[in-house]
């Protein structure tokens, strides 16, 4: 099956004083129809930058997409003229951002902000757009939606604002929804509401979702497939169940070890990953995780490992077989 969105060897860097920060170093991802893909990693691993680059939302300069293709419907999004890209962005690919407190314009009414999307992309007149907006707000679970169209963002709580953002992203019934840490700023009970909401809408509307997060729990809850990122690269990719039951990359193992489990209540010492992620002032020539890795061998410090299949549909970028601790053939 042809993937809906196909990111090929994406590389992004940012100009800083005295050089570049290599934020994304060769990311390849496929997103299939109606699929939920989780992209996991810690701050600075390039998960947001790679998805913002897919949407062409990074500032150029200082940013620069130096390499790669983003194929969507047979076209390379990175080569489209701005006017074409604007037709796709928000219409065919929707996006929800992390911070619901700052993503809405505080001086415009909620209703107008959503209507703007509809009038722009769907050629609706004002009345149609207003009716559809009320419908959308109802769909994302805002009580008395029709009465709240003329409210301003400050009259909504964080969870409600994130619902508004989701309603806005879904206004044109996109084929792809990119959600960048949409629940990070929210409390757990509100997070649970939002995760359930997106799962339900995904099933109802049949859209594909890329969910960017640092929270392995959220990924376990909602993703079919997971890509783990470190230092601007994907280090492991597998179907969700496979990844959690059979993690293969030392970094993934480390992440899971450093999380206490709510359901088992083990008081055992957490297995932390010592050290911290690299600053990426140079693109990684060898394995970027090697300085923190328990399984490190000589080869890791010389060559950058590529993603290699370890199981069906399961790839890991590591020179060592973590099961045996021996180098891979």
């Amino acid at each position: 099956m042809e993937p809906l969105l196909d990111v090929k060897d994406l590389k992004v860097r940012f100009k800083v004083k005295g050089g570049y920060v290599h934020a994304v170093n060769g990311v390849s991802l496929k997103l299939n129809e109606s699929e939920a893909l989780g992209v996991v990693g810690e701050s600075g691993c390039g998960k947001s930058v790679s998805m913002m680059s897919v949407m062409r939302l990074i500032d150029i300069p200082p940013g620069e997409i130096t390499h790669g293709e983003v194929l969507y419907g047979g076209r390379d999004l990175l080569k489209l003229p701005d006017s074409e890209m604007r037709k796709i962005r928000g219409k065919e690919i929707g996006m929800v951002f992390q911070d619901p407190m700052t993503s809405l314009n505080p001086v415009h009414k909620i209703g107008n902000q959503i209507m703007e999307v509809l009038q722009l992309h769907m050629t609706m007149n004002k009345q149609q757009a207003r009716a559809r907006t009320a419908e959308l707000l109802g769909m994302v679970g805002i009580p008395r939606a029709a009465e709240r169209l003329d409210d301003y963002p400050h009259q909504f709580s964080g969870g409600m604002r994130q619902r508004v953002m989701i309603a806005m992203a879904l206004a044109c019934v996109p084929q792809v929804l990119i959600a960048d840490e949409p629940t990070t700023a929210l409390d757990v009970t509100i997070q649970a509401q939002i995760v359930e909401l997106v799962k339900r809408l995904q099933a109802e509307l049949g859209m594909a979702v890329i969910w960017i997060t640092h929270d392995l729990g959220v990924v376990a809850r909602m993703a079919h497939r997971v890509a783990v990122m470190y230092a601007g690269q994907i280090v492991e990719e597998a179907p969700s169940k496979e990844l959690f039951s059979n993690p293969n990359h030392p970094y993934t193992l480390g992440l899971m070890g450093s999380l206490p489990r709510l359901d088992t209540g083990s008081r055992e010492r957490l297995v932390s990953i010592e050290g911290r992620p690299p600053a990426l002032l140079r693109a990684p020539q060898s394995c970027a995780f090697a300085p923190r890795c328990k399984f490190v061998i000589d080869r890791c410090r010389k060559e950058n490992p590529l993603l290699i299949p370890v199981e069906v549909n399961h790839w890991s970028a590591c020179w060592v077989d973590v099961k045996t601790g021996r180098p891979r053939a």
Partner: protein
Amino acid sequence: MTDNNVLLTVEKLVKHFPIKKGTFFTKTIGAVRAVDGLSFVIHRGETFGLVGESGCGKSTTGRAILQLHRPTSGSVIFDGANLVQLKGEDLRKMRRKMQMIFQDPYSSLNPRLAVGDIIGEPLVIHNLATGKQAQERVEELLQLVGLDPRFSDRYPHEFSGGQRQRIGVARALALNPSFIVCDEPIAALDVSIQAQVVNLLEDLQSKFNLTYLFIAHDLSMVRHISDRIAVMYLGIIVELAGSDDLFDDPLHPYTKALMSAVPVADPSVEERRQRIILEGDVPSPAHVPPGCRFHTRCPVAVEQCKVDVPTWREVRPEHFVACHLATA
């Protein structure tokens, strides 16, 4: 448990923030009831977890205990002294024994002070050490929290979030306290760094027999580190029990919902889990609902809950809950 074992007794602790109106002739028109009558004890050497969502009053509780916010009423008995009544030099002396680790390692360190001065400041303020002696103590503290002692003349911006939090821990330890309030000490850190800091806190606890009040919203981490846990909602404690007891058999509907809301990093467990999705948001602490505060969102509320305030009951040994419907 004998009284000798009790380090801290909090009784009917209340902290209301007035809501004022007017520019010149201000009058109080209401109150944000951030903390609204808390009672609990913390034993020597234990970690007491305080969980709840944003705005439930957990941080205010920590600050009111340390007298960083003066409580509106109630008492805080620490080592036999009622902190609420202490002032000036007497309070300052007590402060040596109780310290705080803050949430945000980026704003809780003075950017203009070298790390050595940040950690050594408490020693100077309390006239405990100066000059070479202070410098030695600073180096010892840096080593203790896993940092290079040579870092003492560097500035906060040269450190990562995890390292800064270690500096915050070193500062808190400088006076050899017996009690530390950890206010969301890992919330601002990445997952792999969180574990480092939690391990450090655990090591220091066993080394110096420290008592922690661990305030957090991350239930799994609280379960991991705490001996006993109190769950807060809208300014009050709704349930209090031993860590395993609370998680294995929660009694309050809010606790149940909170736990079911936390996703477990295991898809096969997630598939089978029953979730309780709470409707709506937490009400404002300026307009606390009558009766049980949770009744507006409670999935099992009955008529009585809208009228009567639930009493605080010991439903099982050492397991307290404030709910009309909870049974052992």
